[in-house]
């Protein structure tokens, strides 16, 4: 059992709005605790519709921004719906200086209410939350990213901070579902789009060109994926088939986002058995080999 003294990093003047409690000796494995989160009242700096269905939200979040690791998320309290109590989780797309941004799709009442918010309004945010991706090492395997939908947003920081570039496979139903292609290319990544209707890139599921690529050359590569569950499952199968390591971001339904309610659990293999682990805390990123896709009988 690890015993460590946790302290709040980067306590500087510009984090005055961030709330963090005094240091405490914890007796718990750090993996089992929410990461270095703060709760802060953020200000909406910009808010725009970027495609037919996606919005880009930029927040001044001086407490959260400097702490973000790739694959982590923010938990937003959308105030305008007092009958809808819970926060909503969103991957942190970009983090620069004291701002973070979120790329989101309107799917229900929370995101609809969010879409109505204006620059200048405030939004309570909890973050950064979750354990994200391990950064590729300069001399490690070549990173291959696989994204569906807002998965691109979850992978962007990884692409930005990775010491080496690689390929991004991105899929969607149609052309407008392919997000941030230019941004990834600008970082020096090769982008391989696929659409189900063939309106852009290869026609088919994103895992099809991925498989073709791995058949061509698999050695010394590692997969990093975020997207719908069927896609993640297919990526896990490919990783297994090709004997590759893979990290998957599993976006389970969440409630507290910080490890206390046990809503977001995922069945995970352990020595000789399995246990439920929390996507918000031990995850959202899991080692593909550990994830059980069915609950054992």
């Amino acid at each position: 059992m690890l015993r460590l003294l946790l302290f709040c990093r980067g306590q500087s003047a510009r984090q005055a709005t961030a709330r963090a409690a005094p240091p405490l000796t914890l007796g718990v494995s750090p993996r089992m605790l929410p990461s270095t989160m703060v709760e802060e009242s953020t200000e909406i700096l910009a808010h725009e519709r970027v495609t037919e269905s996606y919005y880009l939200l930029t927040l001044r979040a001086p407490g959260i921004a400097p702490r973000v690791q790739p694959g982590q998320f923010a938990h937003l309290r959308i105030w305008s719906r007092p009958d809808a109590l819970l926060r909503r989780p969103f991957s942190i797309y970009q983090a620069r200086g004291d701002t973070i941004s979120i790329l989101y799709k309107v799917v229900g009442k929370g995101t609809a209410a969010l879409a109505r918010m204006q620059p200048g309004e405030r939004l309570d945010a909890l973050g950064p939350l979750g354990h994200g991706f391990a950064l590729p090492s300069p001399d490690g395997p070549e990173p291959i990213l696989v994204a569906g939908g807002y998965g691109m947003a979850a992978l962007y920081l990884l692409a930005e901070r990775s010491p080496r570039r690689g390929i991004v496979f991105v899929g969607g139903r149609r052309r407008t579902d392919i997000l941030c292609e230019a941004e990834f290319r600008a970082l020096g990544w090769e982008v391989r789009p696929a659409t189900e209707d063939g309106s852009y890139g290869v026609r088919g599921l994103v895992t099809e060109p991925l498989q073709v690529e791995l058949q061509r050359h698999a050695a010394h590569r590692k997969l990093y994926a975020c997207g719908p569950t069927p896609m993640l499952r297919a990526v896990a199968r490919l990783a297994e088939a090709f004997g590759l390591p893979a990290e998957l971001s599993l976006d389970e339904h969440m409630c507290c986002g910080m490890g206390v309610c046990l809503t977001c659990v995922v069945p995970v293999r352990t020595d000789g058995g399995w246990e439920y682990q929390r996507a918000c805390t031990e995850g959202p990123v899991f080692d593909a080999r550990q994830v059980l896709w069915e609950i054992p009988a």
Partner: protein, 324 residues
């Protein structure tokens, strides 16, 4: 200004704790707030063995509330002591450990185990969790079974005992009295209310478990009445909970007769609620010229209030489903 209250032998520096299952094991919140400012930390329900809990989805948001069927996932007594106790025992405020079992013997055994652990503040008997098949809710909706669980735990430990009652009864009075008679030092009221929600597009229940427990602001008026009813019927103190989001909500519980309050579901969306309740309570007392929080307890001005109806006085067969 005195904020401290007594839960039987247990003294709290202020009347605000958190509800079991909504605050993990305390440590998860340590970065967001100073736990030593709370009245007590109450941890998630623990039983003898590790429990995996229910399949997902385990929670669903409903109008002004939350439905849950977690299924009491937890590390068990040993896992808890190993993983979480080293942290909790450092706190200057007491830890209330919520316990449960599937049989009376299991309840007593868990109580006995914690009796041997130094520094525990109190044990809270969860006899009312609606989310497990065996035991659980049954103990909370059968007055005689409840009496036996409390009696068995009372024998098993000298720790302060808090009995957490189920709201899912005709009248809370016989349950409150039974717990008091068998030596419970305090009551917690209320646990979640059995409820259900259906996704009309998939036509499936929104929880994998089908039914779950309703919590959050939507249940507050039910909880206030239960606390009020129980407070008139027993002499032991009550921890009131159910939908507390603000100091105003907490004060409503104190006026209804609660000696302390617990913040539950609100921790999930507003983690600093418990501290805000303490601050707001102090402001309210100042504004009203009160120097002792105990002067609020049960001070609702109920016109023509008397004791509970005679028919509610005892643990009659009416409140017992068990045929003995």
């Amino acid at each position: 200004m005195n904020l401290s209250v007594q839960l039987g032998p247990l003294r709290l520096q202020n009347p605000v704790t958190v509800a079991s299952g909504t605050f993990g094991y305390g440590v998860e919140y340590a970065r967001l707030l100073d736990l030593n400012q709370l009245g007590a930390v109450t941890v998630k329900g623990i039983c003898l063995r590790p429990v995996r809990g229910n399949p997902t989805p385990r929670t669903a948001e409903v109008t002004s509330g939350l439905l849950n069927a977690i299924g009491l996932q937890g590390p068990g007594v040993d896992g808890f002591i190993r993983q979480y106790w080293p942290f909790l025992r450092q706190l200057r405020v007491p830890t209330i450990i919520n316990i449960w079992g599937t049989t009376i013997e299991e309840y007593a055994e868990v109580a006995r185990r914690f009796d041997q652990l130094e520094g525990v503040g109190a044990l809270e008997l969860n006899v009312s969790c609606p989310n497990i098949k065996e035991g659980g809710a049954q103990f909370g909706t059968d007055c005689r079974l409840l009496a036996r669980v409390v009696a068995a735990c009372r024998k098993a430990t000298r720790l302060p005992l808090i009995t957490k009652l189920s709201p899912n009864v005709v009248s809370i009075v016989p349950y409150a009295r039974a717990a008091e008679q068998e030596g419970s030092d305090a009551l917690s009221i209320m646990n979640s209310y059995p409820a259900m929600a259906i996704d009309i597009e998939t036509r499936r229940p929104r929880l994998a478990n089908g039914v779950g427990g309703l919590t959050g602001p939507c249940i507050k008026p039910i909880a206030i009445k239960l606390v009020y009813d129980a407070a008139r019927a027993v002499r032991i103190p009550i921890i009131g909970m159910g939908g507390i989001q603000s100091a105003e909500d907490a004060i409503e519980f104190l006026l209804a007769g609660a000696t302390a309050v617990a913040v539950g579901t609100a921790n999930f969306y507003a983690p600093r609620t418990a501290l805000e309740v303490i601050e707001g309570l102090q402001r309210y007392m100042q504004r009203h010229g009160l120097t002792d929080v105990r002067d609020l307890i049960g001070r609702v001005d109920m016109p023509g209030a008397a004791g509970p109806a005679a028919s509610e006085n005892t643990c009659t067969p009416a409140e017992s489903r068990m045929q003995q």
